[in-house]
Symmetry: T
Amino acid sequence: MSEMIMILNGPNLNLLGGRQPEVYGSDTLESIETACRTHGKALGLDVDFHQSNSEGRLVDLIQQARTSCAGLIINAGAYSHTSIAILDALLAVDVPVIEVHLSNIYQRDEFRHHSYISKAALGIICGLGAHGYELALDALARKLGTTKGST
Amino acid sequence: MSEMIMILNGPNLNLLGGRQPEVYGSDTLESIETACRTHGKALGLDVDFHQSNSEGRLVDLIQQARTSCAGLIINAGAYSHTSIAILDALLAVDVPVIEVHLSNIYQRDEFRHHSYISKAALGIICGLGAHGYELALDALARKLGTTKGST
Amino acid sequence: MSEMIMILNGPNLNLLGGRQPEVYGSDTLESIETACRTHGKALGLDVDFHQSNSEGRLVDLIQQARTSCAGLIINAGAYSHTSIAILDALLAVDVPVIEVHLSNIYQRDEFRHHSYISKAALGIICGLGAHGYELALDALARKLGTTKGST
Amino acid sequence: MSEMIMILNGPNLNLLGGRQPEVYGSDTLESIETACRTHGKALGLDVDFHQSNSEGRLVDLIQQARTSCAGLIINAGAYSHTSIAILDALLAVDVPVIEVHLSNIYQRDEFRHHSYISKAALGIICGLGAHGYELALDALARKLGTTKGST
Amino acid sequence: MSEMIMILNGPNLNLLGGRQPEVYGSDTLESIETACRTHGKALGLDVDFHQSNSEGRLVDLIQQARTSCAGLIINAGAYSHTSIAILDALLAVDVPVIEVHLSNIYQRDEFRHHSYISKAALGIICGLGAHGYELALDALARKLGTTKGST
Amino acid sequence: MSEMIMILNGPNLNLLGGRQPEVYGSDTLESIETACRTHGKALGLDVDFHQSNSEGRLVDLIQQARTSCAGLIINAGAYSHTSIAILDALLAVDVPVIEVHLSNIYQRDEFRHHSYISKAALGIICGLGAHGYELALDALARKLGTTKGST
Amino acid sequence: MSEMIMILNGPNLNLLGGRQPEVYGSDTLESIETACRTHGKALGLDVDFHQSNSEGRLVDLIQQARTSCAGLIINAGAYSHTSIAILDALLAVDVPVIEVHLSNIYQRDEFRHHSYISKAALGIICGLGAHGYELALDALARKLGTTKGST
Amino acid sequence: MSEMIMILNGPNLNLLGGRQPEVYGSDTLESIETACRTHGKALGLDVDFHQSNSEGRLVDLIQQARTSCAGLIINAGAYSHTSIAILDALLAVDVPVIEVHLSNIYQRDEFRHHSYISKAALGIICGLGAHGYELALDALARKLGTTKGST
Amino acid sequence: MSEMIMILNGPNLNLLGGRQPEVYGSDTLESIETACRTHGKALGLDVDFHQSNSEGRLVDLIQQARTSCAGLIINAGAYSHTSIAILDALLAVDVPVIEVHLSNIYQRDEFRHHSYISKAALGIICGLGAHGYELALDALARKLGTTKGST
Amino acid sequence: MSEMIMILNGPNLNLLGGRQPEVYGSDTLESIETACRTHGKALGLDVDFHQSNSEGRLVDLIQQARTSCAGLIINAGAYSHTSIAILDALLAVDVPVIEVHLSNIYQRDEFRHHSYISKAALGIICGLGAHGYELALDALARKLGTTKGST
Amino acid sequence: MSEMIMILNGPNLNLLGGRQPEVYGSDTLESIETACRTHGKALGLDVDFHQSNSEGRLVDLIQQARTSCAGLIINAGAYSHTSIAILDALLAVDVPVIEVHLSNIYQRDEFRHHSYISKAALGIICGLGAHGYELALDALARKLGTTKGST
Amino acid sequence: MSEMIMILNGPNLNLLGGRQPEVYGSDTLESIETACRTHGKALGLDVDFHQSNSEGRLVDLIQQARTSCAGLIINAGAYSHTSIAILDALLAVDVPVIEVHLSNIYQRDEFRHHSYISKAALGIICGLGAHGYELALDALARKLGTTKGST
């Protein structure tokens, strides 16, 4: 039986592919969603995929994940650096959380080097583009035991 | 034909398994090396695995990787936070670099939140324990094209 | 004739009781609302009770309080530490404002020690759990003259 | 043929005229909208005028401006100082952006001296009250070539 | 049977009523003491009321409270911002401590925004003038069980 | 009858056109002076235009403006960031002051983000190149009533 | 009729003459008191001279000065840099206060560069040794009108 | 035989009397010069009195004082806070230097709290208005021995 | 003939044994005094042992030590971190000073990491509990020559 | 039966005696080793004494001490202030660690005031020269029970 | 054919030889000029040598160098640390710039450690006294090709 | 008779020529060594040339230079910014030290702007590429008197 994983995407990630491709790559959010669903299925994971520009909506979604999901992957975009509300929602969630960033935030503006989210995350994957989401699914699968260790 | 990947481990990582298992997990460095070799092979990657407590020795090894390897994975341990020399060595390397940390460094001492290494890394994976090394190999395999995209 | 008091609760306060009870206590937001209504009635105060995870919605509600309420009690949760928008809304309100926090924010993370809200508040009550709301109603009642001084 | 300009107003600007007139002046947002429409028409510019207290809604609107407008004027109010999400939305927009503030933010609280928005703006006009919007329209008209240089 | 509560007042609070009434209100310390005794009695609490300009004397008094009192209310005035000695004395006390400030210290000089005392306090009440002492007694009564919950 | 406006230009602005045109544009200071005179005339404003590389000379000129001018426009260049003497001279002037910067100083070196001048200015216009001077004249004309509101 | 001036000396000033004469000069506190009395008499001022090592005692003395003295001279020694309690006592005093330091505190340790006292002082005289007390008496005499202007 | 004292006044001090009298008092620089000459004569001191808005000119004058004067009084105005060049000139002068400020700079903007000049001064007198110059002459007279100690 | 050593203990050290034993150990101050007397005697040192909660009293005692003692051991407790007055008293003492802390202050709150006392101390011993006092006596004995070197 | 104690000396300590004797004293490292061996023997402790200029070598030695020694004394010299690698090695060691510094590091350069080592040390002894090593042995002997308490 | 090099000296360098020779050496500015002319001639370089105490004058001279000189050597003295105006003038110059300091500014006051000039300089030579000017000429000669490489 | 000069090169300088030539130039370390030997010979200086990636090895070499060399030139590379151990070794050396950097470190990352080495250096030469080593030899030759002054 497969587990449900919520994948949350923050502000402006709906623009992926069109916006600053030299920073964020050429994948669209739709192609990332498709890749996640496919990869999740192979790992025994169902994917509940969302994007919102609203901090409050992201808090709402995280609260829903508390009861409906076995794991959570979040790329909170700009809210990573400013939102204690999202941090608090994640702290209230008992399932493992993986933080993902498409770009290497440590090679960008100083104010992007700090993420509140990291305080609530099991692990962080950043700079690996769309592939980072798949690796996060791998990490959750390993954690949740739907897959085995190294093969 | 497989590519060579150098995996570098910094100070005190030779103590893994015995040292503060609540922080670093119970895997030993030997078991990580074995997992990396096995996982690498599946990805078409050969693994050149090293550990040193010496900053200078790590710089030497990175310089060697310039000509001998197609990718580099580094868990520089404590030197992540203090060594500009290792950063400079990595900046002189043309192959993709993945930074790995076993623990989530953002949930530990303030002085562990900053890594000089990140300035030279393609991507960072942290908090996912020994599994992080395997994910780093996945990322390099995808980058180097020895494996395909999402399956 | 009784006065209307708006009581505003910020992000994640809808989780009270279930979320980190060692920090926030075991009262639910519903039980707090009930206690406030009961206590308010005894003080000659009607209570207009709200919770929202959205910063913008909280701004909207404060703006409504300008014309409909004689006093305002706000536990802005995480937004206390990050929202100048809520501060500005409160500065535009002429009625007395009491800031409430369930936990003692000065014994938690450094980034929770500063509250923008305090700049617009008549008074602050923190660390006294659900009882803090009732004390805030007492303070407003005294301020608005619906009750007398010490008995 | 006239160009479309989006004019965005952030939190609490709907209170203009009534709120702290010694800081923000006595113009209402409606009178500013009217003045902008009139002045825009004279410059060959159509005006799409919005206000929202919600950060996420402002991000949504900026994303719409990407395809519908030739220029953007934004007075993000309190979000100027706290919102990287709005900054990122603006960075994804190719049209010229003018940042406007009614008051001189450098004569107010220290935390109002820094604006994330400025990183994405062509120019900034502040302290000139409602007139600042008209000057911003002048600047866009000059930039877009709907008007000529100095007369 | 009633419980004993020590109420401690720090430097310059003996001047209340005469000194800067626009900041501290027009109540004298004597009227506050009277109000506390009256209010305490209604709550089943006896009040041991002190004022001193001496940091060392305040430390002495807190040490006495360790064995003689069931709760402690402290308005340490200026020492709130500078005295680690008083903090340490309070940390050595097992009874609940409520910190009170007459004025809203967050609307005054920057150096008044930080209180060492808060690290040892159960709760903080500030900005509510002399009424704050009565609310602190309410909080202790609720905590000590001499009164019931909301009525 | 027209009003006199002093326009002051600080160090290195005499090099405009030749110096770093990618930062400062291709207008020369002479062409800006001409545009200001023409635009001023249309607004009922006479223009007294100066440039100096000397901080003391700029202070002298501002002092002269106290009695001879109805308004002052200043682009203090590098002195914006370092000169309290110019700030003090402006504070001693009773006429409205508009601060102008050709480039968007918030997108340049960190040390260019702060301007002492802003503390004495009615308004600030920056990043709009030579056009910024004309907009400053518009603002003064509106302020001084030589022109009407929006047309 | 002569006015009463309180002269307050803080911790370790009783050691003057013997302690670090290269910093504080060779005058003893007794010789300073004598010089102040003689100089005060010539200016129509009586002198009430005190020294204490206790912060609380200094607060007590300043409170007494509120009703008994027409002016106050204070060399608070080390407490200048650490005591908000003394600052608050001085703020509650209506008579003019002159702050005196024997040594030039700006040429000593960094932590001696800041004095809380200065916020409550009319003027500050520092670095002029024992003579500074006499100059402070001159300043008070001029302020209180017991002497005339320049002769 | 009398000694020569140079008195230097920095930027904007020529405006004294007219400029912000609530900060700087109603004395003009001319009346201060007259008072200094009269008071100096009584102390056996000749006065060489200058004002300049130019930092470089002030450096020139200080260099002249090296050979022509027995003491130097400087109110460097705004340059106190920004000029290392004036500090260096003073450090090259062997005669005693007294720093004077009309206002209490510690009660004004944060950036006025630090003076480079103080590093080179024997003593500092601030907040005592025009009288401060006369007290500085007293201090130099005492130092140079043209007058005796306390009378 | 034996030398006299003053041992000074600051605020709250009279609570030792009862207060936070996990931080300060289970020794009482009395048992420390006894151990010091016994150990001192063996080293040819008489011990003058004091405790006070008052900063001023500690300054008084240090001043007495100037003439009566050959060495001074001080555990200033919380005043270590806040008292420049005690530092100044110690700087006025010519005898060797050893600073002692029971706990390792570098493993506690950030504000306990800095000690003003250290600037005046010959040596510092911290984290070694009550034994630290005896080691301090050893150090003074070696320094004063009442004992020989290593045995 | 005696216990083994490792004593580690960091960079440049091999120069002792010859290098800056006014800072480090005139003892050579050899004489310190001899004194430690003699003193250790009297305490029932064997001494394993090392010096290295290499951070990596010091990490190696600490790792060896994990299994071979009952206690560790470390004077890490300059690495105290810069080496997180040595801190991590010490954190992995279960035996008690005493940190020693020959000079009082709090009276030297600001960058010598902080030691990473202190986070892993039981206690710190500094400023007492070569004698500090012997006191550290005393502390370990007391801790390990090879000697009794105060005599 | 020889190239023209401008050598600029900032405030107080005209005092060289007489002023603080322990810091700046005993060479006079005249002897430096002579040495530069002689050394320049040997390198095929003509020298245009200036000194000014005025920041504005130095900006003027740098602007002249734009068209008249092939290289520029600048010892801006105190203005190195405070003048963005001089930095901007240098940034507008296309010829290579060498920054020279007589003393090692990194061993002096903290505020002398930072030089704005360095941002515009090809290279920096400091601490080598008057010889530094000659080395700067060597560097320019090598750069401009009037001399060959190593001999 | 010629003097011996040690020239030390820190981490990654062995990569010169191949690594980031746009930053470090195209000279190899071998060509720099050759140029130094040739240039040294002309100045009467023998050259002892080393490179190491190890901080400890560099400390060892500096310690050797104490007895074998008359001067020392060091380009410590990345260790300039992080190594107090190297600083301490240099402070223990009595011969003159010249610090060299190939690139202008003040135009690179913020963390490269500070060099610990500078505290121990006679002079610093930076930004002049390989030529900087030759200029450093010139400076030492002048200092040691193997060459005369300006020719």
